[in-house]
Amino acid sequence: MVKKVKLRILFLLAIILSAILSVFLILKSLEKDVVFFLSPTDVRDLKTIDTKKIRVGGMVKDKSISISSDKINFVITDFKNEISVSYSGSVPNLFAENKGVVAEGFLEDRNYFKAVKILAKHDENYMPPEVKEALGEK
């Protein structure tokens, strides 16, 4: 009987400990790996530019896309501010001027963003909620 109780307590302890440990681990890496979403205006208002990965979303400005063999340059705008983006990699099908876009990458400075990924969308009518909000009521 005593042995059984002991085993139970041991089990319970192990469960609690592992639960605490996992929650701690999860929260810890959440802090590190989370990617924030900003609009070009948010970028302008940033106090410091750090090296963390972020997402920038808005509209691709009219006539701003230019393509060379290894790179695509374009401008993301929220109709208040804009930011130049340079990107090498694959683009989704719905990437086009005057369409919503979300780019993930690193800020070089307040006006220049180096994207490592452009996010795809499935639906031409669909706009990421973030972009919609970043654009405001246009």
Binding site: S18, I26, D33, V34, I67, S69, I72, S88, A120, E124
Partner: protein, 613 residues
């Protein structure tokens, strides 16, 4: 159409009748209910087939010049239709359950029926009040808006029904568990009965996830098969939970321990599936997979979900009685404990995914900043524990019930372990990469692989389906790991006639041609990829659909046993440059094969179950 809506309402009134009357008639009534749902579902399918645009759902999601196959699959390619499908599966399962459980106590069957009806009523009112598939449009439009062409694909056409069978199967587990708790019928017989349903939903969920993943691989043009996207996570969570439940119910069937845990798992599984519906349908998640959404629907599902959770918790706390004669001894080295440890690991993975999926939502509500949680988060948290999990999985399943006294093939296990360590180190050395976690992960997966292979070929045929399932899982992990480590890719912008070198292959873009198809225009590029041994011809395609106007790219994939070569092109701004992505993905085919193996193992186990009877 109005006729059918009234039939729906009629069925609802029947429903409330069920709840009061508990007698023999309800069984035939539930057949009637199934019959009505089938009628309304078939009529929706017919509306889609004959392109009856006076129906709003058809108008929004169909078009006359769509192939007939996609007209039918368009029925569940949208919110309203898919909910009707959900209902169909719900009622169908209930019916099958009633047929299949003749030998069970009557009270238990009736109570299961009642709980299931609560869920059915919830979904019925959901369909009727927020998303009626039979809304009437006047004047009748002459042409529909069309189905998103990206959904016009064979794998995705059958993906939702199969996934739904998996999801909805969990609802039956949920109701049956609650019924058994109330009736105090949690016993070996119950475990036997419910195991059938757990296996069915697990098999279908596995296949459903695989189909979605295959679709994402060749259709979305990213060349990956899993993106840790919220919608994918939402289907993975019930799967993990179900997997834990399968193991747990086995222990319960043999030893009648872990009772409360089994109950909690059954409830959790269903709750997670419901959460999935809520998150996907409400549009709270910002996912690339989210199509149309509507907040009213979200609120409805959310309140329904809370109601169910509340209900189940009350039942659990009030009716769950621990048996007093619970004095079985539990030894550390035993199958029970190893299953329990397996469950711990699974729960850990589950909570990582859950938090990763839900945290952004909470943060947005609380602090108004928008974040997204990507693959690095999951990789970092899951991989280290996956290593232990794999090692454990190689050893644990061979323990005996109750108490393992001597681990006989200790030596063999140890040599295998050393061998896999050595093998993965050698592989890394050869490919010139090195990272401690990768080496460990690879050797752990090799280890599991060898052990399961060894088990598979051992003379003892006992529990063959388990061995196949474990082997399938080890193969899955191994191919995913190798795939992740050894994949190579390049993305460039090319014009017709351009050439480029990649690794030791030469890629050249030779020509373009345009073809008119039934409901799209197709632009086919032709690429040549040469290496020292062989020349490959790639013909990736761009499709410009007319209704709605959408461009999709169809990748060209050369599949072989050892690697897939994947080439996809994209147009940018209609200029002469095309965005071309070329990937070499080793062992891709084995990922699908091993997932199929998992499903086959499930089927085999089901077959055994029926054979025994």
């Amino acid at each position: 159409m109005g006729l059918i809506s009234s039939i729906l309402i009629f069925t609802i009134s029947l429903k409330s009748y069920y709840l009061k009357a508990i007698d023999k008639r309800i069984f035939s009534l539930s057949f009637l209910q199934l019959f009505f749902v089938i009628i309304s579902f078939t009529s929706l399918v017919i509306c889609f087939v004959i392109s009856d645009f006076s129906n709003e759902t058809v108008f929004n999601n169909s078009h006359t010049n769509k192939p007939i196959f996609y007209k039918i699959s368009g029925t569940w390619g949208n919110h309203e239709g898919s909910l009707l499908l959900w209902l169909l599966v719900l009622t169908l399962f209930l019916f099958l359950f009633l047929i299949n459980s003749r030998d069970e106590p009557k009270q238990y069957r009736v109570l299961t029926l009642v709980f299931q009806q609560v869920i059915i009523i919830g979904f019925f009112s959901f369909v009727l009040f927020t998303s009626n598939p039979f809304n009437y449009l006047f004047p009748k439009p002459s042409e529909g808006l069309g189905l998103n062409p990206i959904l016009q694909d064979p794998a995705l056409a059958i993906h939702p029904p199969i996934l739904y069978v998996g999801y909805v199967g969990t609802s039956l587990i949920f109701s049956a568990t609650l019924a058994a708790v109330v009736e105090n019928y949690i016993s070996k017989d119950w475990a036997k009965n419910i195991k059938l349903w757990i296996l069915i939903s697990w098999v279908f969920l596995t296949i459903g996830i695989m189909l979605g993943s295959i679709w994402a691989y060749y259709e979305l043009g990213w060349g990956g098969f899993w993106f840790w996207d919220p919608v994918e996570n939402v289907s993975l969570m019930p799967w993990i939970c179900l997997t834990a439940l399968i193991h747990c119910i086995l222990v319960f069937e043999k030893r009648e321990i872990l009772k409360s845990w089994t109950i909690i798992l059954s409830i959790a599984t269903f709750t997670l599936s419901m959460c999935g519906t809520f998150l996907v349908r409400s549009g709270i998640l910002n996912s690339v997979h989210t199509f149309a959404n509507d907040p009213a629907r979200g609120i409805f599902i959310l309140s329904f979900l809370f109601l169910l959770i509340f209900l189940s918790l009350i039942i659990f706390f009030f009716f769950n009685k621990e048996k007093q004669n619970d004095s079985r001894k539990v030894y550390f080295l035993s199958k029970e404990v190893s299953v329990l440890i397996n469950n711990w690991f699974l729960m850990y993975f589950l909570s990582v995914i859950l938090i990763g999926t839900v945290y952004p939502i909470f943060l947005e509500v609380l602090s108004d900043s928008k974040i997204s949680v990507g693959p690095p988060f999951y990789n970092q948290l899951i991989i280290p524990l996956l290593i232990f999990f794999l090692v454990f999985m190689s050893i644990g399943p061979n323990f005996k019930w109750i108490r393992e006294t001597n681990i006989n093939n200790k030596f063999q296990l140890f040599t295998l372990f050393l061998f896999s360590l050595f093998l993965s180190y050698f592989l890394f050395y050869k490919f010139g990469q090195s990272s401690l976690t990768n080496i460990l992960l690879l050797s752990a997966s090799f280890y599991l692989f060898f052990v399961t292979v060894k088990d598979l070929f051992s003379k003892n045929l006992y529990n063959f389906s388990k061995k196949i399932a474990h082997f399938g899982f080890s193969l899955l992990i191994l191919s995913i790991v190798l795939n992740a480590i050894l994949s190579k890719e390049i993305t460039v912008n090319l014009r017709v006639g351009d050439k480029i070198n990649f690794e030791n292959e030469k890629i050249s873009f030779s020509s373009l041609k345009s073809i008119e198809k039934e409901n799209y225009q197709s632009i086919v590029g032709s690429f040549k990829i040469e290496n020292k041994k062989k020349t490959y011809e790639f013909n990736p395609e761009l499709r410009i659909y007319d209704q709605p106007v959408i461009i999709t790219s169809e990748a060209d994939i050369k599949i072989s046993l050892f690697e897939d070569k994947f080439l996809v092109m994209n147009t940018i701004k209609g200029e002469e440059y095309f965005n071309v992505r070329y990937q070499i993905k080793p062992f891709m085919i084995w990922i699908w094969i091993s997932t199929l193996l998992l499903a086959v193992a499930g089927f085999l186990s089901l077959y055994n179950r029926f054979h025994e009877k």
